[in-house]
Symmetry: C2
């Protein structure tokens, strides 16, 4: 491994993407990404009796599908990294407990897929794991009632609000050679610009994304145009605009190559999703549905997947605090 | 690195313990471990205006103290792993945001210190980090109201209940040589024996501890008597008894060398703590207060630190679910 600096990595034996799978709900299936998801379940309960159990089922399905696509049994996975938005990460822990895979729980809010991929890649590159799995999920109904209002309250959504996606993604990395590989990445640092509005996650997360992207470009000596896409997790429309502004101040223009999973997953014109999609499952399902597929097909060769997380606590907001955010970056090449 | 199996590691370049620090509250300072803590704050609010902010302050103090003991500035730490019990891990994220250290958030409930140590050791051993920090915390008042009852309700505690410790611990690992080193470890697997009582965490976690300890002994071909102590996180009195029973069924007797941080931290006779202490800060502060100190002094040479976590969700319990648990093991030698 070539360690470029404390928090920026380039892997000497780039771990390969063995398999990936995405699962999404009805609304997500009706958006522009609909055709790319592996599994669509139109029942918001996924056959369970509560939304929380439905989210666990979502993640379980993504993991099962990834294992199936990889042709692997759960017992062949050395360990996994997973987490989600729900208190105590129940989407993950209850979703994966039956697989009996050694498990490291992670919490990075919507940055979880990038955090997990980075830790998985570090583990495979170092020889700790032959196969390493990571997964995450989100569910509109579990997240909205936990972070904002009871759904039955029917509160009006503000223009900057984002729609938590009902979706999940799972990726299996391996030391075997394959077309798509994780060649490097950067660990994020907590960034807090003092945003206190739980309905403006994009603004809270944009500074974290800007810092991590700028740092990776600087340390690796690369330019935005060296990549087919610089992907952010779920800044949405508001956050993406702020990201451009913040990076332009640093004389870095990513507009030509920038894609935001929160903007991509819904059709803002017809789906009434305001600033776009959000949730751990948003960037995870767009990565595992769209981007990794495009890379496997060969139409994209080089992307920076930068999932962003608002480490927001409803209780701390009630106590007058702001929203700390983080962005982890994974460099994927084909 | 010598990888003994998918989930059991032995490090070829054992990362060393550069520094460690512990912080505890008033009740903890009055127990048998009182003399070992670095910092004691008798104010349950630690000068803050809410318990959640107090817990963040607790963890911030532990990290500051560990940096000070190591003679390091926060900018010298390559990255850190931290997490805690409170929703969205606010004890960690709000506690450490000012340090501006690249950060991986983890969630393992009370197993957090072992999970973080294992991931830190993997990172240092692989050369990803020169200095890697990990920290965790818990606070009686934040945890009790989140997981059980509003404190002002004054509910009567059951005999198997444990007392969430107001405490924090932080450890800095490094690639430099020093007396105390992390020589191996094992990642835990989620274990769920169907316990549904939020006041009997020990019973929920004992099977996870038994599985991880047995696995490490088997894979490494070692016996309980090869260690000065097999330490569990916070099984308490009830859980420790169950751990002995479960291991005896496997013809493994650890009673001679077993120590439980939850039993050690309070005096059950005089402190009215029922089955003992619990919380991420319990095993973290006893490790960083007592065990690492004993190892540095030379009176202990070889311990298995097995922190256990009940991945319990109050909401999922209300929905009829049981408590999944996990135990991660870290082999520390001097």
């Amino acid at each position: 491994m070539e360690k470029l600096s404390g928090d920026v990595f380039r892997f000497s034996c780039p771990p390969s993407v063995k398999a990936f799978a995405s699962v999404a709900g009805k609304k997500e299936s009706e958006g522009p990404m609909g055709e790319y998801f592996d599994v669509i379940d139109e029942d918001a309960y996924l056959g369970e009796d509560t939304w929380e159990k439905a989210e666990s089922r979502l993640q379980k399905t993504a993991v099962q599908k990834a294992l199936q696509k990889a042709g692997l049994d759960a017992s062949q996975i050395d360990f996994m990294f997973a987490g989600d938005l729900i208190n105590q990460c129940t989407g993950s822990t209850y979703g994966i407990r039956d697989f009996q895979i050694p498990f490291f729980g992670i919490y990075g809010a919507c940055s979880t897929m990038a955090e997990g991929l980075l830790l998985s890649a570090m583990s495979v590159n170092a020889g700790y794991a032959g196969y390493c799995l990571n997964s995450t999920s989100s569910h509109f109904s579990t997240a909205e009632r936990q972070f904002r209002f009871p759904l039955s309250y029917g509160g009006q959504r503000t223009p900057t609000s984002q729609w938590t996606c009902t979706a999940s993604g799972a990726v299996i990395l391996s030391a075997e050679k394959s077309k798509v590989r994780i060649c490097g990445g950067a660990a994020g640092t907590i960034t807090d610009f003092g945003i206190k509005d739980a309905n403006n996650m994009g603004a809270a997360m944009a500074p974290a994304a800007a810092a991590t992207i700028k740092r990776y470009l600087d340390v690796t000596g690369t330019k935005p145009d060296d990549y087919d896409a610089i992907v952010t997790g779920d800044l949405g429309i508001t956050g993406s605009g702020l990201l451009y502004d913040l990076l332009m101040r640093e004389k870095t223009d990513i507009r030509n190559v920038h894609k935001d999973c929160g903007v991509m997953i819904f059709d803002g014109e017809t789906q009434d999703t305001h600033a776009g999609g959000s949730g751990c499952g948003c960037s995870a399902s767009v990565l595992c549905g769209y981007f990794l597929r495009k890379m496997e097909e060969g139409s994209m060769k080089n992307i920076l997947f930068t999932a962003t997380g608002a480490l927001m606590s409803p209780m701390l907001l009630q106590q007058g605090e702001s929203i700390p955010s983080i962005a982890h970056l994974v460099h994927i090449s084909a």
